[in-house]
């Protein structure tokens, strides 16, 4: 541990992100030709490890298996079909321009760079927009039942941050249907023998040999055995870190462990402070709450958001007359009204609750009211549009949203930060690739709706198969097994940590520590951050971590199924990672996208960027015995000129 974690040192800037030369429209096409290939006969002899089976992991493993590589795919769930991509509701973007409303690859690129508040790498985003169309083709060919019009052609709908209809969807279960498509492609390769599936394995270390990623160490969650696997390249597609806040819309077992262990083996962690807080989630109902449920962004098309005009107004909503209500989004943003982007809507909800005008028992909620829409369109129309969401709401809250306004509140939903990668999606550790939400690459400081599914599948189907092959073709790797000293050291490190955890034999459970960490993070590193709150977090996190290692109580043993031991290991990693997140937020003295520093706002309360000083990716290098080192990758905008975002 270092002496003062609120400090850091500045290292060499990152000058090579492997972005190819040429105009932005031509870079990827030209580069695909320039990249090296591996002869089919040689692919069989090469092994690729892939961690995670969400959209990015499953699509990469299946595609690399099809190419003939020997792929080993790992997940902690009992089946690859359960990865958390399955829960994505809204849709997936692509610039097909089927709506003839002026969409194009360039416009999707432009919207994504702007939506990310000018904190992403242009070349990566352009490629994402380019391959998005292929994703829709691929998924349709797999049998994904996208919504269709009566003509039989694909239907589109609108989503936040865009003026065109480019979102493809499968009711409110788009993530599920896309993931099942990728999962089925994966299982086909399992049957063909190119992919070996390892379920119920949790990755606990990356093995680096001579500076190159050559394998992983995992815990078999059924037997407790620590297993080691070697490969010629390692892909991490292990998702985001939203659960550092304890309560989030993520799955309960989603965690930062794989990414964090890679970070501790040398991979830079980029922009951890970019976290997305989604405005429309079902509020917390009590201390027992274990997770939060999202209500789709689409509800804001017809619902009106309001709170009582005066604080501590305890009347039921239907007894508060119109003139005593504050439709604050419509008041503050007349041009966009209830359809402002996620970051803006979330902050506005927090502001009215801070003024004591929140509603419900906890006063941490605002109304999302459909009464006017029902009057205008009729109950049937509203039921046809949002019936499944209304049912979901009623099931959880036991209230009828057709009669009583919904209560909603922002919740942690997605994390834009992640392991640093170059244009090839390779981290600074050669041979270690990072895909999907686990990398930092395409969304800048704020992700637009329906873009996460696009990125996961773009990375896995259409980028990694090329760039991983290019790496394998060029790196003259000597074949290795798992007998080397690096593998032994890795196994020992992992085993020691597990014994250390079990030997604490304290009095507080992993869940109690996780809740305490979540409280610190939400209060101090949440929707509104200040230097003061961040410094407080940087004092409280290490203190809590110390308490954890002195007082955590984990039942059971290491050598069999032990869900609490798994959980405690993840919480231990969150307790380390949280500090880097807070430090990154403290060092970034500007507001951008999901990172809102209250000191840096425009006179009317909007995020104020500081392009002169902060137009860079903050890539953090781990130091075992001192504070982290910051490497800056300067962002150049040759095509989309940064401006102040305004929704007034």
């Amino acid at each position: 541990m270092s002496d003062d974690k609120s400090t850091f040192s500045v290292g060499e800037p990152i000058v090579n992100s492997a972005v190819p030369d040429g105009g932005i429209q031509d870079k990827w096409e030209q580069h695909k030709f320039d990249m090296k290939l591996v002869n089919p006969a040689n692919r069989r002899k090469m092994k690729v490890i892939c961690v995670g089976t969400g959209l990015a992991g499953a699509s990469a493993a299946a595609s690399l298996g099809e190419l003939g590589y020997h792929v080993q795919n790992f997940c902690y769930q009992d089946s690859p079909r359960r990865a958390h991509s399955i829960a994505a509701q809204g849709g997936i973007n692509a610039a097909k321009n089927y709506s003839n409303d002026g969409d194009s690859i360039y416009r999707l690129f432009y919207d994504t760079v702007k939506g990310g508040d000018y904190r992403s790498r242009e070349a990566n985003v352009y490629r994402l927009a380019q391959v998005a169309n292929n994703i829709i083709d691929q998924c349709v060919a797999q049998g994904v039942p996208f919504a269709r019009e009566y003509s039989g052609l694909l239907d589109n709908r609108s989503f936040g941050g865009a003026q065109v209809s480019r979102t493809f969807y499968a009711r409110g279960q788009t993530g599920q249907q896309l993931l099942l498509g990728a999962y089925q492609a994966l299982m086909r390769q399992v049957e063909a023998g190119t992919v070996e599936m390892f379920t119920r394995r949790e990755m606990l270390d990356v093995v680096v040999v001579d500076g190159v990623a050559r394998g992983i160490t995992v815990r078999n969650l059924l037997t407790g055995e620590i297993e080691k696997y070697s490969a010629d390249a390692v892909i991490l597609a292990s998702g985001g870190y939203g659960n550092v806040y304890y309560l989030s819309t993520n799955a309960k077992n989603s965690n930062v462990t794989a990414a964090w262990r890679a970070h501790k083996r040398g991979a830079y962690f980029a922009n951890p402070c970019y976290t997305q807080i989604h405005p429309t989630c079902i509020p917390v109902s009590g201390d027992h709450q274990s997770k939060l449920t999202l209500m789709s962004e689409s509800l804001r098309n017809d619902g009106r958001v309001w709170v009582p005009l005066r604080a501590d107004d305890n009347r039921p909503p239907n007894q508060i007359p119109h003139e005593e209500r504050d439709y604050y989004l419509e008041r503050r943003y007349p041009a966009f009204g209830n359809l402002v982007p996620r970051d803006v809507a979330s902050r506005a909800a927090k502001a009215v609750c801070d003024e004591g005008r929140g509603v419900g028992a906890t006063k941490l909620a605002v109304y999302l009211d459909f009464a006017d829409a029902i009057k205008r369109l009729g109950k049937d129309t509203i039921a046809a549009r949002y019936g499944n969401l209304f049912d979901m709401y009623a099931r959880i809250t036991d209230e009828n949203p057709y009669e009583t306004p919904m209560r909603i509140f922002p919740a942690v939903h997605y994390t834009m930060g992640g392991l640093w990668v170059d244009y090839h999606l390779m981290s600074n550790v050669p041979g270690l690739f990072v895909l999907g939400e686990a990398n930092f690459s395409d969304h800048g400081a704020n992700r637009l709706g329906a873009s996460a599914l696009m990125q996961g599948l773009a990375d896995g189907y259409f980028v990694a198969p090329y760039t991983v092959s290019n790496y394998l073709a060029q790196s003259k790797l000597t074949p290795i097994g798992t007998d080397g000293p690096e593998f032994d050291e890795s196994v020992k490190t992992v085993q020691d940590r597990i014994s250390q955890l079990l030997n604490v034999k304290g009095k507080r459970t992993a869940m109690e520590f996780h809740r305490a960490l979540g409280h610190i993070m939400w209060e101090n590193v949440g929707m509104g951050r200040t230097a003061e709150s961040l410094k407080r977090a940087l004092e409280e996190i290490p203190r809590l971590r110390e308490e954890f290692w002195q007082d955590v109580l984990i039942p059971g043993e290491a050598n069999n199924l032990n869900q609490n031991l798994e959980y405690a290991g993840r919480v231990a990693d969150f307790l380390e990672f949280a500090e880097l997140l807070a430090l990154d937020a403290l060092h970034r003295e500007e507001s951008c996208g999901g990172h809102f520093r209250e000191e840096y706002q425009t006179p009317d309360g909007e995020a104020a960027r500081d392009d002169e000083h902060f137009s860079y990716v903050a890539a953090w290098e781990f130091q075992p015995d001192s504070s982290p080192v910051l490497h800056q990758e300067k962002l150049e905008f040759d095509y989309v000129k940064p401006t102040q975002r305004s929704y007034k």
Binding site: S59, P145, R148, L153, A170, A251, L561
Partner: protein
């Protein structure tokens, strides 16, 4: 929302591994509130057990919003409990009266061996999918998405079948431990899309033969699977599958 606290008597199946005989154990869950989810109630019970130095109850869960298919066990004899169209993670304690006895058992089937307590091994489902539950298209081999129109009705029907979350409730509720609804739903989904036509016969045979090999039973049309399916997948998927299999056999 009521915050009156309720007390429940829990009878929980405890089994230390696939080879352990297993037994019921009784617990009292005190100070629970109606707005808690079922799994949050179990979280509280487990935290208590840990503090008492006892082994907490093992159960599987992940997304806690009814879509990943990780959770599921029998509650008072019903897969996923008393609330129709919901997984157990979506059930709230308001469905149980104060003082109620709640019996919890794992999904029981020959093809789903118990791993521990309420957790079972459902990898047999993965094996059925890998036997043929896909359309054999390579990455990059797809044609333009709008080249083949699909009637909206077919697409909607395909979606209804594709909504299966692979939780295993259908197998657990069936007296024959049949995987017919799971297998039928995937066969129906893929056969209703034009892209899935080419392999339809082979797929139907391969998947149903695999289901037999994995130890699932036959379907005797009781309809219990449909009744407990959290995604309310219709038993018509089984009829569709039977027709597909019959056609494939005749064409052989």
């Amino acid at each position: 929302m009521s915050s009156t606290s309720r007390t429940f008597k829990l009878r929980v199946w405890r089994q230390n591994g696939p080879n352990d005989k297993g037994h019921f154990e009784d617990y009292v869950a005190k100070d629970m509130t109606p707005d808690m989810s079922f799994l949050e109630m179990l979280d509280v019970v487990n935290e208590d057990l840990i503090h008492q130095g006892k082994d907490p109850i093992t159960f599987e869960h992940d997304c806690r919003e009814g879509i990943c298919g990780s959770c599921g066990f029998m509650v008072n004899g019903l897969a996923h409990g008393p609330d129709p169209g919901a997984t157990i993670c979506q059930v709230h304690m308001r469905h149980f009266a104060d003082g109620a006895t709640i019996v919890m058992e794992p999904f029981r089937a020959k093809a789903f061996p118990v791993v521990k307590d309420l957790m079972v091994d459902r990898s047999a489902f993965d094996h059925i999918i890998s036997a043929g539950g896909y359309i054999s298209v390579k990455t990059g081999a797809a044609t333009e998405a709008n080249i083949i129109p699909i009637p909206k009705e077919d697409a909607d029907q395909a979606f209804d079948s594709a909504a299966c979350i692979g939780c295993g409730a259908c197998v657990a509720q069936c007296k024959n431990a049949s995987a017919a609804l799971f297998t039928g739903a995937k066969i129906t989904h893929l056969t209703l899309t034009p892209q899935g036509q080419v392999e339809r016969g082979e797929r139907a045979l391969a998947m149903t033969i695999k289901a037999d090999e994995e130890g699932f039973g036959s379907c005797s049309n009781e309809g219990e699977c449909e009744a407990v399916c959290p995604k309310e997948i219709s038993i018509r998927n089984i009829a569709f599958m039977n027709k597909e299999v019959a056609k494939a056999v005749l064409q052989k």
